[in-house]
Symmetry: C2
Subunit: 299 residues, 2 copies
């Protein structure tokens, strides 16, 4: 099974209570790809500038990420600079330089158009729609978004949401998009916008999933130190969709199990800057933490 992801590949400069880094590898499509690569082949569509080093390309390739869709164009790579206080749920943006990402218009390579699974990472919903126009009958389309698009591109976002299978977003975004403070009620409203399932990421509080007559709630893996939460949502998405692609029937239990795998990969990802913890992560470690998830939640 093949997974197509369209999103950003970026340089992040980040300060957290535990350290500070400059221009490390980041971006939604990066985190998603590396996380999903533990379970499935990934096809990446993104754009970088001429300053994007081979070392990062080699790293992604070493994780079996197909890079035929990674375009290198004149100019500089997308840069984000931000910091987190002790409340690691809130990222504070200090600087955003879109650079080559500003004119990103995702063109899906012909050989990617038959992808079985599509992840529309957090990009302009107009571009997400443009991706949907290019792919041929995928089995499942999952879409992420962010507050910026909820505020500035609402009609396009609603159009996208009505055409995807699963909507993935965080708790603040869910409340904002549904205009409803209660998260369960917000989730129900979002279901009414078209998707079969709504998955709401709650950071340190775990994740909930809603579907027609279905509700699932998983607490977060208990970490005593969240070193850097950047990419938690995207690595959740990658672990989730990567895992789900192994279960073509997509039964309820397969979806739930995949939410646990997504949470496992995300919990590893936040243990260090960038995707560093995922670089040498093993499937054994993933399976062990999956079992721990069973232990800490069963009654």
């Amino acid at each position: 099974m093949s997974i197509l992801v369209v999103g950003s590949v970026a340089f992040d400069s980040i300060r957290t209570p535990f350290g500070e880094v400059e221009e490390i590898l980041g971006g939604s499509a990066t985190y998603f790809s590396v996380a999903a690569s533990f379970f499935a082949g990934v096809r990446l569509v993104a754009v970088v500038g001429e300053d994007f080093p081979d070392e990062h390309v080699d790293f992604l390739a070493s994780h079996d990420v197909d890079l035929a869709g990674l375009k290198k164009v004149p100019g500089k790579t997308f840069r984000w600079k931000g910091y987190y206080e002790y409340d690691l749920n809130d990222a504070h943006t200090m600087d955003t330089q879109l650079n080559v990402f500003e004119d990103f218009d995702p063109e899906i390579p012909e050989e990617y158009r038959d992808s079985d699974y599509v992840f529309l990472a957090n990009i302009d919903p107009g571009l997400q729609l443009h991706v949907l126009e290019q792919v041929r009958s995928p089995r499942l389309v999952v879409c992420d978004t962010m507050n910026l698009w909820i505020e500035t591109r609402r009609p396009q976002l609603l159009e996208t949401i009505s055409r995807v299978d699963y909507l993935l977003l965080n708790d603040a975004e869910a409340r904002q998009l549904a205009d409803e403070p209660n998260l369960v009620a917000a989730g129900r409203k979002l279901l009414g916008m078209g998707p079969q399932r709504v998955i709401i990421k709650k950071g340190e509080h775990g994740v909930i999933m809603l579907g027609e007559g279905v509700f699932f709630s998983l607490p977060a893996y208990p970490l005593e130190t969240v070193f850097d939460p950047t990419g938690a949502g995207d690595s959740f998405g990658g672990g989730f969709l990567g895992s789900l692609s192994r279960y073509p029937e997509m039964r309820e239990e397969d979806i739930r199990r995949s939410i646990v795998y997504g949470s496992v990969v995300a919990s590893f990802n936040v243990e260090s800057f960038s995707c560093d913890r995922l670089r040498n992560l093993t499937l054994d470690e993933i399976e062990e933490r999956y079992r721990e998830f069973s232990d800490i939640t069963c009654f």
Copy 2:
């Protein structure tokens, strides 16, 4: 098995986004008693004023709450007035009139001193210690607290905590008492203060329990409307300890199951003002929601 609770019985005046009430039955010991009464006999020690109506006494008695320890003294009953915004996690206090509660010095009736289970509801830790001096070798002592005592009576509170079996408190209190922003790390620090178990209530985010080499995490029951969160923590405590008293061996699975029962009773309690939802709640309804909890959390 008998459960002794020492705490407040009060009149609450409350405004939430869903309504407003004046001088309804409230107080930590009230919520605890009614919640626990679904599972076990409860012995209540508290004080009220001459204005406390027979109707409330009759209601508690109808739930098999033993009221030999409920003292009626000259003066007025404790009154609390507060409101909640849409973020129902934060109670805003408008007025507190301690009245007869100001001189509350819990005297445990002779026939209560052999109680098997003791719940020290949220009162001055000096009074909690005084209760501990009066009871004879209970099987289990659970203690609750609040920010006021953490700020003003820290040495006495630490002394109490070192002498109880289980410490029950909410997430903000856990962070404050441990002086540690990460909740898992805070829980570990609190464990180091003496109790066998630390149970941290997280409101809409559920509950976590820590013990030596043990961690349990349960999400909250998904309510689309939390009508009034007052008493959620105490009804959790009552449902928890009431349930646990049915399992004298107190195996890990018994403790976890009881945390689920506590969450179930608390989820009913917040569906209306005061203990109104608990008045005609049935064990069948409790069991049904327990099964729902299994459904929404299993994977």
